[in-house]
């Protein structure tokens, strides 16, 4: 019962966050000086054309009414039509989302494959070669921007040693380099956290008890400490996954992948306001959902958290 309440509470907070974020976005869009209709119409448009665009954008009515419409659009999850192609914003987004999602999932998987073993090794054998390697990696991961890494990967593995294609998006092979570019920095964060969590667990009193009981180091490390350390790792992985959706915008640009990021970016270049608004809210909702899921998962793994 207590758990049900917890979920309800978190769910309400999820709705509140989405409400606040969409309100912020709305005011960022409306409060700024200038009329988007003028930008869309161009310099030589007639007053009638501009008025027609205002009606299409919905900026011909008072701000309060616009805000009401904006909220009802979000509740119904309907953002109207693209001003450039005329297609429904929802349809455009849902067409592009699978590629971005696949990229983010691949990226996080690659990140976890590197980060968790390296993090555990670093914590278990502190100040060893692996620990130094891990430290160097995590510093590099945090310093190297994903788009530059993407370019270097293309240069090395598509131009100099052509084992991966330079262009295209139709096969899994096209997604490996982008996923590495995207996952490299995320892995650094997860690695740092895995190491810290593991070190903390290994210093706990139950480890001494376990040792006193005569358990092997192996059992203590991998069955007890790792299991508890994973609780923190799950949380940070979830958050990193959310960030990947944002990072994908840039990486997709480097590798010319037609994902959500590219759709969004072109919407910005072309000042396609309905598509920009829809895209931002969509990503915000997905991001909040990921955070929500992580919270729930965290409380399943660590029941203590439900009380607070």
């Amino acid at each position: 019962m207590e758990f049900v309440f917890f979920i309800i509470r978190r769910f309400l907070r999820l709705l509140l966050t989405i409400f606040i974020i969409s309100t912020i976005i709305f005011f960022v869009i409306r409060v700024i000086p200038g009329d988007p209709a003028l930008v869309v119409a161009g310099l030589d448009a007639s007053e009638d054309d501009i008025q027609a665009i205002r009606v299409r954008l919905g900026t011909d009515v008072p701000v309060a009414v616009q805000y009401g419409r904006w909220l009802s659009d979000i509740v119904r999850f309907d953002f109207g039509e693209s001003m450039i192609s005329g297609a429904s914003v929802n349809k455009l987004i849902l067409e592009r989302f699978p590629l971005t999602l696949t990229l983010a999932v691949l990226g996080i998987l690659l990140g976890l494959i590197v980060a968790i073993p390296l993090g555990v090794l670093s914590a278990v054998h502190r100040w060893s070669f692996w620990d130094y390697f891990g430290m160097v990696y995590s510093q590099m991961g945090m310093a190297i921007p994903s788009f530059w890494l993407g370019m270097i990967l293309l240069l090395v593995f598509a131009v100099k040693i052509p084992i991966f294609p330079l262009f295209g998006s139709d096969s899994l092979k096209n997604l490996i380099l982008p996923a590495i570019a995207l996952g490299f920095a995320r892995a650094a964060v997860i690695l740092r956290l895995t190491r810290a969590a593991m070190v903390e667990e290994l210093n706990r009193e139950y480890i001494i008890t376990a040792r006193a009981k005569g358990l092997t180091d192996r059992m203590i490390r991998y069955k007890h400490a790792l299991k508890n350390a994973m609780i923190a790792v799950v949380t940070v992985t979830g958050i990193q996954f959310g960030y990947m959706l944002g990072g994908a915008i840039i990486v997709e640009q480097v590798f010319s992948l037609p994902g959500l990021g590219r759709l969004f970016l072109y919407a910005i270049y072309q000042r396609d306001f309905p598509l920009i608004q829809g895209g931002v809210v969509f990503i915000a909702v997905v991001f909040s959902l990921v955070n929500f899921t992580v919270d729930i998962l965290y409380s399943v793994l660590n029941p203590k958290i439900r009380i607070s």
Binding site: M142, L155, L265
Partner: protein
């Protein structure tokens, strides 16, 4: 042993940032060429004795462009980190000193801002405010203010209950004075650490936005813009992509390392 080793890297990092700053200030004196001078005969020249780091698609000298580009990078770092500190500290102090209701409302707002992919937020802000350096700096400043707000609020709440604050309150010291005499100096260490990290993040975001064509606008040299151009000539002129990115990564690395080292120095417990 580790501390010694880190000190050595720390010194190099400080030196690098110092050199970068000096190069940015003295750019006209130290750069070998004008960063916007085009030399079509020498376009796509590989690094040689004339152009140490090669030239780009317009025959512009890459080293000079990197040196001038450090101006945009450092400017963005300084201005956006300052905006973030000012907004964040103000909000954090108000939340920490204010009542329950104010605290909850402000923190909800900050948390919502924090719970959003930074780069996406930056792109959104810039797409509506227009492209350019000023917009980028404001966007980054606003985006990173919640980090400072949380930090300052937590510290303020902790310090608020200390007995010396109680004592100064009993003595009738005005709130503002209490804030400046007791609370802010106590916070400074942590804020400085966060500042160096924010500096690094700001530089990356500026480069990312410029790479997407939403940040610094040509012909102003910027590392992100250089990388944007480089993308189209990856096969012909790989040096166009390698060097600006390398300097960018080194700058971020140096700032992160300085932040990490300061954090350890200020909080010895981390080392355990």
């Amino acid at each position: 042993m580790l501390i010694k080793r880190k000190n050595w890297i720390f010194n190099i990092s400080v030196l690098f940032i110092f050199l970068l700053g000096a190069a940015a200030i003295a750019a006209p004196l130290v750069s070998p060429y004008n960063p916007t001078d085009q030399n079509i005969d020498r376009r796509f020249s590989a690094p040689d004795s004339t152009n140490i780091l090669g030239t780009d698609n317009f025959g512009r000298d890459i080293l000079s462009r990197i040196i001038y580009g450090s101006r945009s990078a450092l400017l963005v770092g300084i201005v956006s980190a300052s905006i973030a500190v000012v907004i964040g500290m103000t909000v954090g102090l108000i939340a920490g000193l204010g009542g329950n209701w104010v605290d909850n409302l402000l923190m909800l707002l900050m948390d919502s801002l924090l719970s959003f992919p930074t780069i996406l937020l930056a792109i959104t802000v810039v797409s509506f405010f227009g492209y350019g350096l000023v917009q980028v700096m404001s966007a980054i400043g606003i985006i990173y203010s919640p980090v400072f707000a949380r930090l300052v609020r937590a510290e303020t709440l902790a310090i608020k209950t200390e007995s010396y604050i109680e004592a100064s309150r009993a003595l009738g010291t005005p709130v503002i004075k209490r804030v400046f005499i007791h609370i802010i100096p106590n916070l400074l260490g942590k804020v400085i650490v966060q500042l160096t990290i924010t500096f690094a993040l700001a530089i990356v975001i500026e480069a990312s936005l410029s790479y997407l064509g939403l940040g610094t606008q040509p012909p102003t040299p910027s590392w992100g813009l250089m990388l944007k151009d480089a993308k189209n000539y990856l096969i012909q002129a790989p040096w166009m992509a390698i060097f600006p990115g390398l300097v960018l990564a080194l700058a971020v690395f140096a700032f992160n390392l300085i932040g990490d080292t300061l954090a350890e120095k200020l909080n010895p417990r981390v080392l355990k």
